[in-house]
Assembly symmetry: C2
């Protein structure tokens, strides 16, 4: 019998489904060949909750990040980078961090280091706070930065939830300006639109409005619980949120659990839900209706004034009216933020949750500096967005960023193919040379599988005639003969004549 | 007295130089203000060997990475990403890893995980090997990939040596083609040239040539030691390498150390050094001279044939003759690689060492799969390259990627400034709106410090006249009046008329 560890390793790595019975003397050749892994080898799997991104995933990802960077930069946000590893104290706030954070944190150490001193960052906001506290004197304020990078959380992996994922954050620190509030939503719009995300809606709220409403109905001491219940509205529906808010009997009450404590009376809960449900839509309408409902409550008035101004400026900032709305029931993040908040969903794909969220905070770096640093910012959830686009078919087929595959032939000097590729690249046309002079059909098949648009065939006859054949790899049709003398212009013409734009 | 830990924290974070004497009752206000950190706060420093990259460092970095990505892609290399965290077994090769690797590795764990199971990657080659073993059946070969990312090594930090740094790797896996050998050098050239790296030289060698030479002089059993000694030639000079090779007495021999064992006789060592010193320069010259010196040694002949073909194809692949050379004494990496090797130095800055290195390997993923996967690739050392460019003044002044700063004024609706910026951005001109309507002079000072090229002044008079003032922030000169009606074309014209190209 095989040692257990080898058997385990084998069972994990073989592509044969089910449980494989074998002993040391009998290695199933098809299985060994199909994966090429024998029991004494190291299993090439990644750890649980982590993943490889092959080109089909990395190409649209890079394209999207490139759009985000250009968008952020066009608004004057500057890139910064901080290390993936931070001092534990920075991440946990001297133990002031939540139990949730502590449980999910990845500790890091090496020989000579003490465990518990270093850890992987779990977001980009804490590193920003540390960074700005350290560098604000050189950098000055306002400071607009963006940061794109991996963050790490040891949560139970699940569908679409990974232990390493990418955040794309931008923040304007050191100002209380409502212009920055509006601009943050404008950046969300510009970044997503420039990356080709289909019709989406940015929802805005301000926690002062809900605070004011709860104050008005005499429930200002129960804000936290109310917000948590409201947050579930889209997920569990009106009836169950009403039940949770008012503590009414469940249809099938669990005798083992203590009876629920009512957060609100049924009347209060109904009023709140009506307010929230009427509080969604175009800013001008929703905000004037809310103003009459909320009367003279000073906190609500402050929140409404902010939202009105954010909405007004936003409408002059290039965001189509149909891509933004006020949602006075938007509760998520209100625990953390102190002013305007944002969430963004793709229309028809709301169940994926928000793909870009953020808000205003009173004081970013109070753990690290006495200097008060108010600010506003948001984060685009790249992984969720890509998962959504993949599921909705919005990603399209990924293809090689080099549109032309130049073949090699045993009868032709490789230098000819190389020289052709150099000329195309200098004209801005990506060109790959197949490395081996194998059968042309096999080189074409490689080009099709990689997503090259054209094969440029360089055989002995073509080299002799100094005229090469251009083949469309999707249709397999021969397009035209390309003469050496006007190589660049002919290929460029063929690329432009394609009815679909190069992706 | 203050508790020791607070005192320590204070001493580390204050910007006041020297040792600060104080007690709990006396907080020096200038110091507290200058950093804003009080003793009960968390020190915002990064851990030893790690660093923050502010915009002045991140902007040229991103620009360079963007050039590299475009260059890699134009040759048909496709991006992949692998997790920062790998299973320990993958990184250490089931304990077969070197002591050096084990000592430098950062272990990673979280509550519930066992220490020693996971670790941070220390390069991008081991993850590539694992990736290709896992995915080769879907991806097929040849497989050309690039990967850019952070790697982590717990070595003693020093000047220019960090515990987290960026590697930019590209590899062609699954072919023994000499075309791929030549292309690898062509990609190094294209990537560095496109990123604006000043005059540099790519050196090529093939370990079979040195093997053959050592065989010829009867020293084929001492290759390892000889290569290690040769590697020091640039650093310690001819005399000391000769000494190390031949074991001759040092000028000041250390009586406590055992006498050195001679690797070669003085005659052998002199012959080797003469061969190596005559083995640097233009490929055609060096290789024909070496061929006559090496006679019929079959291993040397194999190496020379490879280098001759690599050189010939390289000269047709867009690489200027003056940017490449053969260096038959190039020893670094020969331990690891099995065919051609590359190193790249910036002319006049050789002391910085190689900024792009690589070579050919016989079998990439033998730890993970039975399938033999030969390949060739190289890695650009981004951090070293940027350090070199900074020291040589090649980076220039970093500036905001948004050339125009649009001001705000208390007397003008913020929506006007926002609308101007939207129009400029839609015309492809990055434009930032200052978030607060403070004094225009202060907004201009902000623009100068961030490196905006122009300030577009939107005051009450300008808004009234629908004509705005454009100020050059470097010269502080008013350029021209910009009318609302032809905003985009006027600003674009001003940008183009600038004698220096926008950086």
């Amino acid at each position: 019998m095989l040692p257990k560890s080898c058997g385990t390793s084998w069972a994990r790595t073989t592509s044969c489904s089910g449980f494989v019975k074998f002993d040391a003397a009998i290695i199933l050749p098809e299985c060994t060949n199909s994966e090429g892994i024998t029991p004494d080898m190291i299993d090439p799997r990644v750890a649980g909750g982590l993943r490889d991104l092959p080109p089909s995933a990395s190409i649209p990802r890079e394209r999207m990040l490139d759009c985000f960077r250009k968008s952020f930069a066009s608004f004057g946000f500057l890139p910064i980078e901080t290390p993936h590893i931070e001092r534990m104290e920075v991440l946990t706030g001297k133990g002031a961090g939540s139990e949730e954070v502590l449980r999910q944190i990845f500790e890091v150490n090496n020989k000579g280091g003490k465990l518990g001193e270093l850890a992987l960052r779990f977001d980009l906001t804490v590193p920003l706070a540390r960074f700005i506290a350290k560098h604000v004197h050189e950098l000055g304020i306002p400071f607009k930065r963006y940061a794109i990078g991996s963050v790490f959380r040891g949560e139970s992996p699940g569908k679409g939830r990974f232990r390493e994922f990418t955040q794309c954050d931008f923040d304007t620190v050191g100002t209380e300006s409502v212009v920055a509030d509006a601009e943050t939503a404008a950046v969300i719009y510009d970044a997503l639109a420039s990356a080709g995300v289909p019709k989406f809606t940015i929802s805005l709220n301000n926690r002062k409005v809900l605070d004011g409403f709860l104050d008005m109905i005499g429930a200002s001491d129960r804000v936290g619980g109310v917000l948590r219940a409201l947050d579930k509205l889209a997920k569990i529906g009106r009836a169950r949120v009403l039940e949770e808010l008012s503590g009414a009997e469940t249809i099938d009450p669990d005798p083992d659990k203590p009876p629920r404590v009512a957060l609100l009376s049924v009347t209060q809960a109904e009023r709140l839900l009506a307010f929230v449900e009427g509080g969604r839509g175009d800013g001008d309408e929703v905000l004037s209706r809310a103003a009459s409902e909320l009367g003279t409550n000073p906190r609500a008035a402050e929140g409404l004034a902010n939202l009105r101004e954010v909405w007004r400026i936003l409408m002059s900032a290039g965001v189509p009216r149909a891509s933004a709305r006020i949602d006075l029931g938007l509760a998520r993040g209100l625990d953390y933020y102190t002013g305007v908040v944002y969430e963004t969903t793709v229309d028809g794909w709301e169940r994926f949750g928000s793909i870009a969220s953020g808000g205003r905070y009173d004081d970013l770096a109070s753990l690290f500096t006495e200097r008060r640093l108010p600010g506003v910012g948001a984060s685009i959830g790249l992984d969720r967005l890509l998962a959504l686009l993949e599921e909705s078919g919005g990603l399209g087929r990924s293809s090689s960023p080099a549109p032309v595959l130049v073949t090699q032939s045993a009868g032709v000097d490789a230098a000819v193919s190389m020289a052709i590729a150099v000329r195309l690249r200098r004209a801005g046309i990506g060109a790959e040379v197949f490395p081996d002079p194998i059968a042309t059909g096999k080189q074409m098949a490689y080009g099709s599988s990689r997503g090259h648009r054209f094969g440029l065939i360089v055989g002995p006859d073509e080299a002799e005639a100094q005229t090469f054949r251009l083949r469309d790899l999707a249709t397999r049709k021969e397009l035209k003969a390309i003469a050496w003398v006007n190589l660049e212009s002919s290929v460029a013409e063929a690329l432009q004549f394609q009815p679909t734009s190069p992706s």
